[in-house]
């Protein structure tokens, strides 16, 4: 039972980051490697925002302000990257875009090490940890509950945006076929910009949630989280929003059970083992549909 709570809390952070991967992949068919580093930058912005807003607000409001700062900064960063690095390559082969994304990712990581220093930083504990439930077999604290609730709320909002607004319909159309969508009068560039913005804002929010539960923040933080979130996205079926959410939670659960029953040192291998298994038996992911390539 305890494993389930830990797993869901961890998994919802993966899910939020995975959504960013899966949305960009759905629209542009490329793996946005820089996404994980946007997440890392978000965590650092969170640290600075927390420092500056300290004492002005009551804790709950401060958390909100810090989260909004991180989200806003991540969105601005993602849009700049999209404009400078990805848009000029819209018609280039996919591999080039991928390499550019890796280059941007390296740039952010190394730039982060220069600006923030390579040492881990402490994320300020904005909410004091209080146990909500504390019996022999079950521990649930307020931070875990916040993480789970906020992620669930964001996913519901996202689901509403994608399925019940004009913008969401346009996004789905673009991911179905970008050329036909633009022929139908959908401003594809704007839709792509919105997709990046939504993905980055989710990453920004996830980074603050992550900082609250695991206060050790360093410039290479994004690498592992990013890989795992990506695994979660593929697991659920890349390009599929519901799949990313479910994939993230399943991955979190699998890891927390693996730590409990096997060994904590194999924790990272679980994610990738799971990935290879799903690709062998259900190559399109859990919820994905396999699209046949046409000539």
């Amino acid at each position: 039972m305890q494993n389930i709570i830990n797993g869901v809390a961890q998994g919802s952070v993966y899910a939020l980051v995975a959504l960013g991967y899966t949305m960009v992949y759905g629209v542009l068919q490329f793996i946005n490697f820089a996404h994980s580093d946007i997440f890392m930058i978000g965590a650092f912005v969170g640290i600075y925002a927390a420092k500056w807003t300290n004492g002005y607000f009551p804790p709950i409001v401060q958390v909100m302000v810090v989260t909004l700062c991180a989200m806003a900064f991540c969105v601005a960063l993602a849009l700049t990257i999209e404009r400078i690095a990805y848009r000029p390559l819209r018609t280039a082969p996919r591999l080039n875009v991928l390499i550019t994304a890796i280059g941007i990712s390296l740039l952010l990581e190394n730039g982060g090490q220069v600006i923030f220093g390579a040492d881990p930083r402490q994320f300020p504990s904005l909410l004091s940890t209080t146990s909500l439930l504390n019996s022999d077999e079950l521990v649930l604290n307020n931070i875990q509950l916040t993480v789970i609730l906020v992620s669930a709320l964001l996913m519901v909002i996202l689901h509403w945006v994608v399925h019940h607004t004009k913008l969401g319909t346009a996004m789905r159309a673009v991911s179905f076929d970008i050329e036909i969508a633009s022929l139908m009068g959908i401003p594809t560039n704007q839709v792509i910009v919105f997709t990046f913005a939504i993905g980055a804002s989710l990453a920004g929010c996830a980074s603050v949630l992550y900082g609250l539960s695991y206060p050790k923040i360093e410039p290479l933080l994004g690498v592992m989280i990013g890989l795992k979130a990506f695994v979660a996205a593929v697991f659920g079926g890349i390009g599929n929003i519901m799949g990313a959410a479910i994939g993230g939670i399943i991955l979190g659960l699998a890891e927390s059970f693996a730590v409990y029953y096997i060994s904590s040192s194999f924790r990272d291998a679980i994610a990738f083992g799971l990935l290879i298994l799903i690709l062998l038996f259900r190559p399109a992911g859990l919820l994905g549909t396999f699209r046949r390539e046409k000539v």
Binding site: I31, A85, P88, L89, A92, P93, L95, N96, L98, I99, T100, I102, G103, I104, L106, L107, E109, N110, G111, Q113, V114, V223, L227, F230, V231, V234, S263, S265, F266, D268, A269, A271, F272, G273, L275, I276, L279, L280, P283, E293, V295
Partner: protein, 314 residues
């Protein structure tokens, strides 16, 4: 080329390598020697990955994993086993080849299921595989675990590294001009058309992948026996990415391009040392710049001598 000139050429080349090796060991600054040897290992890695990423058009992100398998297999024979044969310089050479063989086997096992799928799946599976291999080494105590493995005999030198680099280059260059190579190239150009022409696409992809893994394993073995110490973090995701960067920066599918990329990726961080902590920032920025202004890579599909030929000759 007659048989006679071939053997004389080989003899002269090997003798030249031997001579350079001797003079490097005697006279050159150890730092320079180290950079030169790292270049050689990067050459083998870049050239071998070029076959999969550049020629077959598949995207592999786990080259460091195969390099790791080669490295750990060869040290298992030379450092951990008690077989006398593998302690001798000759035996170490064979241990490196065994490392390549083990990597090729791993490449076969990974490639067989994943290469049947299209698109980015190979990238994802190889990425996952590379990480699993690294974590596996991390948790194996008898090969040093996270602390790494010291005390490996330091037997590889300029001669062996560049001999293997030359073998890799010639092998790849000849391969791509054979019918197997043409089949591999056709997969990159258009998979569906290649299949329609009767090419067993999945089989040739696996062939390319296994050959590429073999040479990655060789590079790993040479690397281990040059460093004298290896630990799992040497073979992490960043290493794989580095090799991919070599191939893409140099020009996909061009072997001299991949070689140029390998040299650039190894030398640039060294040359940029004057910029201290900014060097990796400059390095990654230059990577993005190459992609934006020269999306085909520095060389494109061409080999270096195509630039020196007159128009109409190529």
């Amino acid at each position: 080329m007659t048989k006679w000139t071939f053997w004389v050429g080989t003899f002269v080349a090997v003798a030249a390598l031997w001579g350079i090796n001797y003079s490097l060991e005697e006279y050159a600054n150890p730092y320079i020697v180290r950079v030169i040897i790292n270049c050689g290992i990067a050459l083998i890695l870049g050239l071998s990955l070029n076959l999969v990423n550049g020629c077959a058009g598949q995207f592999s992100l786990g080259h460091a994993g195969f390099m790791g398998i080669g490295a750990y297999t060869s040290i298992l024979l030379t450092t951990l086993s008690n077989i006398d044969f593998f302690q001798s310089p000759m035996g170490i050479g064979w241990a490196v080849v065994a490392g390549g063989g083990a990597a090729a086997l791993a490449g076969y096992l990974v490639g067989l299921p994943s290469l049947r799928l299209r698109g980015d799946y190979l990238a994802i599976v190889t990425l996952g595989f590379g990480e699993i291999i690294r974590i596996f080494f991390l948790n194996m105590e008898f090969i040093g675990g996270a602390r790494g493995m010291p005390g490996i005999p330091r037997e590889s030198n300029f001669f062996w590294v560049y001999l293997w680099a030359a073998v890799t280059f010639i092998f790849m260059y000849r391969l791509i001009r054979s019918s197997t190579g043409r089949a591999i190239l056709s997969i990159r150009e258009n998979e569906i058309a290649a299949e329609a022409m009767g090419i067993d696409v999945a089989r040739y992809k696996v062939v390319a992948f296994v050959i590429s893994s073999f040479f990655a394993g060789i590079a790993g073995g040479l690397f281990a026996h040059y460093q004298g110490f290896i630990d799992p973090s040497t073979f992490n995701f960043n290493r794989s990415v580095e090799v991919v960067i070599m191939v893409v920066m140099g020009g996909m599918g061009s072997f001299t391009g991949a070689a140029l990329g390998a040299l650039l990726v190894t030398l640039l961080p060294e040359l940029l040392r004057v910029f201290a902590e900014y060097r990796m920032v400059i390095f990654s920025a230059s990577l993005v710049a190459v992609m934006l202004w020269r999306p085909m890579g520095i060389m494109g599909h061409k080999e270096i001598w195509h630039f020196f030929k007159k128009k109409g000759e190529a």
